[in-house]
């Protein structure tokens, strides 16, 4: 039982698709374009557009409401 549980845990870890990116290999990740919060004005426009088209606001983050019923 212990063996199969441990094996299952290892298997889940190996198959998770996650990889540790070393700090010195983060050149592309450090690019400002990879920061979703870097373009605030663009986000504001997109949110305005979304709320107009969908007739609802919020839902963009886990903290907000929103019906999540687009399309």
């Amino acid at each position: 039982m212990v063996k199969s549980t441990a094996f299952g845990l290892v298997l889940v870890f190996l198959l998770s698709g996650c990889a540790v990116v070393k700090p010195f290999d983060r050149e592309k990740l450090a690019d400002p374009i990879m920061d979703p919060g870097a373009h605030l004005s663009k986000q504001t426009v997109e949110q305005k557009f979304f709320s107009t088209v969908e007739g609802s606001a919020g839902g963009g983050t886990g903290l907000n409401g929103g019906c999540g019923c687009s399309k």
Partner: protein, 168 residues
């Protein structure tokens, strides 16, 4: 239950794989080309000197603060050899970073700027943060390593340098 020891060993090996080169071990040898101009630098040629290897990158905001501080440290301890190793893929970006106003002290020749474009040396030392500094004593033993940067870190590093320079 017999499985547990092997699982624990696996966890230990996994943890150690993130530990990098630890203080007390011989510093891995390397040869790196100069970033701007000059000959390549071989670590073994610096045997008998205290060497500070600092890894930095143009995309690393704290490096903008740490590099001038390293130049000041080098000015305070002229016997110290400081190798400022860029891990940028692009040499042009790295040089442009050095040419900016707040890092001009490097361009002034106080530090030896090297280029690790393939990041093989960074991997060899298994850096856990950026910037990262390793301090190597006169016998080639890695004595101190510091990953990341915070205000006051260089004071601690300065104390270590002072201690190592006083050793025979």
């Amino acid at each position: 239950m017999r499985f547990f020891p092997s699982f624990a060993a696996w966890v230990l090996c996994f943890s150690l794989s993130f530990a990098g080169t630890l203080p007390g071990q011989m510093a891995p040898a390397f040869t790196l080309p100069a970033l701007v101009r000059g000959p390549s630098v071989h670590l073994h040629d610096l045997h008998g000197k205290v060497v500070l290897v600092d890894f930095w990158a143009s995309w690393c905001p704290p490096c903008r603060k740490s590099l001038p501080e390293l130049a000041r440290l080098q000015a305070r301890y002229p016997a110290l050899v400081v190798l400022a190793v860029s891990v940028d893929e692009s040499r042009t970006k790295a040089i442009a970073f050095l040419d900016k106003k707040d890092t001009m002290s490097i361009a002034g020749g106080k530090l030896t700027a090297l280029h690790d474009s393939t990041r093989q040396v960074a991997a060899l030392y298994d850096l856990q943060g950026m910037p990262a500094a390793v301090l190597i004593d006169k016998q080639g033993v890695l004595r101190f390593r510091h990953d990341g940067y915070a205000l006051g870190d260089l004071d601690k590093l300065g104390d270590e340098v002072k201690g190592l320079l006083g050793e025979h």
